[in-house]
Symmetry: C2
Amino acid sequence: MDKKKNISMAVIKRLPKYHRYLTELLKNDVDRISSKELSEKIGFTASQIRQDLNCFGDFGQQGYGYNVSELYNQIRNILGLTKAYGTIIVGAGNIGQAIANYIRFDKLGFKIQSLFDANPRLFGLRLRDIEIRDVDLLPEYLKENHIDIGIICVPRNSAQKVCDVLVKNGVKGIWNFAPVDLVAPDDIKIEDVHLSDSLLTLSCLLNDIE
Amino acid sequence: MDKKKNISMAVIKRLPKYHRYLTELLKNDVDRISSKELSEKIGFTASQIRQDLNCFGDFGQQGYGYNVSELYNQIRNILGLTKAYGTIIVGAGNIGQAIANYIRFDKLGFKIQSLFDANPRLFGLRLRDIEIRDVDLLPEYLKENHIDIGIICVPRNSAQKVCDVLVKNGVKGIWNFAPVDLVAPDDIKIEDVHLSDSLLTLSCLLNDIE
């Protein structure tokens, strides 16, 4: 695992895709796969795949290919999927509720423990088993519960304030759905899902073909 | 606009961010901005900004900076935001409903005209003003209505089938939320939002710091 420190952001961004395809291969009882076969499925070149997978160990064998379950476990390990993450959502609007209802995240180890919102009419309601709480209670909640990941689904104007509260109370990972670039100390990891940016990329591409 | 054909994917991916910041500057009545000031706000280097904006015209002036509203309009133009896009959503689950309720997309020119789902209990219901229809009626609907963008929010197993129907009936843009890589002809533009991939990137980064 020492090699991991050197994995570039470009490789990290590709790892979830490897994870998706390996999960599928395992489901279909595929035991081993060559970099060439994996390349045809996943769309990266075989040499790219060999290079990527080399970053974290030497487990492809010439003429044999990759042992699928070994590779799968290794990638789960690198992605940090061998443990559970205390997770909360701040903002119980459309996106916040959609994320809370998305059971797939639970299965991956992201246990959503609570939702927070500013709207008193929502306090005490539950989505699946997840209680919606007053966002004013967030600092207190964070002091009493170990939370690794805060999912920010509030409007853009409140997002930085929420981020500050999360960071101040020890949350190290932010999954940000607000259309704003958050500012946080370097040891805080932020991953953005900017939906409007993504839609605008699509319209830009569409416009290009006309 | 001739220059546009040469804009790289890397630049295209940065344009929505320019659009966000310029919208904000306009709201705050900022008339002009230097590449240095813009750099401090947006986080790209000043030289990167000059290079990006050079791709589509010569409207920064030495010693004056950029005229904000001119630049804003130009970027709107390149992003294809000067027109309206006929848009539908296939899959009225959590994410599909969240997208349908997200008014911001309307304001940007993406008019969501209908939702489609396979669940008969949803047929005829409305989200805001948007009717949920039987997905079996999708081909017919696409023949009778001009739709530019199909938003795919169905489970992974149905996503490719939905994509095929959209493409066969003239839809040129796909915004895909299913955790699967779709296959389509080259002239079809696909933009993916792979939520699980994004979350796994975050857990990978978190794991790296421990």
